[in-house]
């Protein structure tokens, strides 16, 4: 047994370092502060670099520069900082720059409330940058997830050369809980695929491949990186066929492989006619609610806790909702991810329950919604 008592932010930092992160830059913001502090405690002594940006734009900019030299990089903020990251998130998409971005979500809109929780950014993370191309969003429910999903996030960023978000929440990031490190899942660490031989094209892909092999800026072979629309050689192009092929590849490399990183917990109960779909800290209340309903009424309710929000795990949703009469989506906002669930499960009754008042949704509220909604 290796029990320790840490918050989600610290666990995320531990996962990042386990995954090989050696460069972290951020701008101070609550509730992501303890992640910054945990990185500053650990990373420099491990030979890594931690920087405080003059603003969030700089923090992510430092990371993109460092990532292109081959380092595994992470930045962490909350909603107001994600707003400022936007232009560089689209750069990471366009330039295929691996980066892990933590959003410890807090009450919004705008500056909102720094110490109150919400899950109000889940569509913003998907659509908050120019061009509308897909990104990956993982979402932890507890401190264990913070470690494991942090490792997955780095693996995915390296494997697909793209930004990967960890959509945490103040109620996970700043909540301390007992975890048994021995029992925490520690995924095998994946490294970026390097270009091996032959002429190097910075955005060239082999036959049947969608992710360009990497060479670092600063290595023996000069490398080009650009935020502008480019061909395989990294130079500007206005060739519409090349442009279309390029953006389709950026979409395909993420979306066609989604089954490989559809993370979830399924509490499937025999005979259940109703499914709760949820994510983040709210999943803990939903599971408690389902257990209470079973005890009190004998009715089995299944609960699907999503840990990959984007790309939408379409097959998982279809399979989990098979035979269900009713699906209830519960989230800490006024109804965001429910739109995805309704899109996928058209034909099934999909209800929504959510609150965005800075406090946790309680199991009793979910019980009421299930029994009387």
């Amino acid at each position: 047994m290796e029990r320790c008592f840490i918050d989600g932010n610290e666990a995320m930092a531990m996962g990042a370092i386990y995954a090989g992160c050696r460069f972290f830059a951020a701008y101070p913001i609550t509730p992501a502060g303890t992640l910054f502090a945990a990185m500053l405690d650990r990373l420099p002594s491990a030979g890594g670099t931690v920087l405080q940006g003059e603003d969030e734009i700089a923090a992510i900019g430092y990371c993109l520069g460092a990532s292109m030299t081959g380092m595994k990089v992470m930045t962490a903020t909350s909603g107001p900082g994600i707003s400022l990251y936007s232009e560089n998130i689209s750069f990471a998409v366009a330039g295929e720059i691996p980066i892990v971005i933590v959003d410890v979500m807090r009450q919004g809109p705008s500056t909102g409330a720094a110490t109150l929780a919400a899950d109000g950014d889940v569509q913003f993370l998907r659509w908050g940058c120019s061009g509308g191309l897909p990104i990956i969003v993982l979402v932890p429910s507890d401190v264990r997830d913070c470690f494991t999903l942090s490792v997955h996030a780095f693996n995915l960023a390296e494997r697909f050369r793209c930004p990967v978000f960890l959509a945490s929440n103040k109620e996970v990031g700043m909540m301390r809980e007992t975890i048994d490190m021995e029992k925490v899942e520690k995924p095998r660490v994946i490294e970026r695929t390097l270009h091996q031989s032959g002429p190097f094209l910075p955005f060239g892909v082999g036959e049947g491949e969608d992710v360009p092999a990497f060479l670092p800026i600063g290595g023996p072979v000069p490398v080009r990186q650009t935020s502008s629309t480019h061909g395989a050689d990294g130079y500007l192009t206005t060739d519409s066929a090349a442009i279309q092929a390029g953006v389709e590849r950026l979409q395909r490399k993420i979306e066609s492989r989604r089954e490989a990183f559809t993370f979830f917990d399924a509490d499937r109960r025999t005979g259940a006619r109703m499914l709760i779909v949820t994510y983040g800290v709210t999943a803990r209340a939903a599971r408690a609610a389902a257990a209470a309903i079973l005890t009190e009424t004998g009715s089995p309710i299944s609960v699907l806790t999503l840990k990959t929000l984007w790309p939408v795990p379409e097959h998982l949703l279809l399979e989990a909702a098979e035979g269900m009469e009713r699906v209830l989506v519960v989230e800490m906002n006024l109804g965001q991810y429910v739109h995805e669930v309704r899109r996928i499960l058209c034909g099934t009754r999909v209800d929504f329950y959510g609150k965005m008042h800075g406090r946790l949704i309680a199991p009793a509220e979910i019980v009421r919604e299930v029994l009387h909604g």
């Binding site: 008592f5 700089a58 900019g61 520069g65 460092a66 030299t69 800026i217 000069p222």
Partner: protein, 436 residues
Amino acid sequence: MASLLNPYRPPAFCPGCSHEVSLYALDRALAELGLHAHEVVMVSDIGCSGLFDTFFTTHAFHGLHGRALTYAAGIKLARPRLKVVVTMGDGGVGIGGAHFLAACRRNLDLTLLILNNFNFGMTGGQFSCTTPADASVVSGFLNALEKPMDICSVAASAGAPFVARGAVYQKDLTSLLVEAIRFDGFSVVDLWGVCTGHYRRRNPLTPQEIASTMRELPPFAGLAEKNLRPEYGAGYRTARSAAGPSPTDTPRIEPRFASPVPERREIVLLGAAGDHILSAGALLAHAAMLGGMWVTQKNDYDITVMRGPSVSELILSPEPILYTGVEKPDVIVALAREGVHRKREIFAKMSPDGRILREKGLEIPDTPAHIMEIDFKGYGIKRTERALAALSLLARANDPITLEMLEEALRSSLQDQALAMSLDLLGRTAAIPAPG
């Protein structure tokens, strides 16, 4: 050494554009320094200055407007031996003002070449932060109302140790660039020239006029003596090695005792800033984990940390914990009105089995729970000691922890005088009748 210009991508500036002069001067400077293509990265952003990276065979990083210095900093810290040359326009300095100031203050070994042509060329000739107020640009009267910025004065004020103002016409341009690139620290070259596509069409700017305007400004020829200091990257690496191994390897807390009540307990500690509520919460968590319990802890306090409520909510459970909210606590420790007010709604929700340890005289909302009033003051227990004193009272009643567990948690968390004082406090609380 050979030119690092890309023979397949010749310069494509407007005829007569000053940028082309700067481009060749930069290439000659890199050649004079004997640098190979893979030893240099050109970092650029948006606008005509952002074309520079495409004309060289070096490493290249082209990003968003005004952000070049941020990318360059990340690259340089990760690859200290790489020569990092940043090109920006006067537009980029304006939009990236915060990054420019930060780079001057930080003194990382980057060379910033500002291709200052007094307008936004690529978007059609709008005014920038260096456009003279009396210039005619496509921005109507807008530029007439703003004072142009002296980039060099700003750079020197912000701490850049190498600041030079030059014009593309000057004969020693290449040697100036050599000096700037060779300098071990942040070097800024504010290089004046003309935009033939836009600015000069409306403003007949001659080399003589540029020279005379420059003479009216403070001269900057390179080294800014008052700002000379060690380079940031080298300093960072030294400080990093000096810091030694991580001081905070997360401590493991292994069960060593049998929990006196292996049942779920929800506990809320309510006080004011300075009452050591959060530390007491962490101590209670530690003690409970020594008894093999699973614990969650959530804290609440105002951002003005030295004033206002201080709240710690804990759940102790023999099983892993799902929902982390505390709505109907089993125990409340109420030490100050600020905390009581913040959580005023939970008192009525307690059950008659619930227990409240209340500081004598403190008003609390109506509650069905059993209230034990403690005269901490009367026992000579200071404000800062009351949270721990309250834990010791709970421990002496063996619910939810024992005194043995609390003492062990203290021994693991504190040292020396702090530990001695805490253990002494536990002794002093023995005089208080244990709550039943």
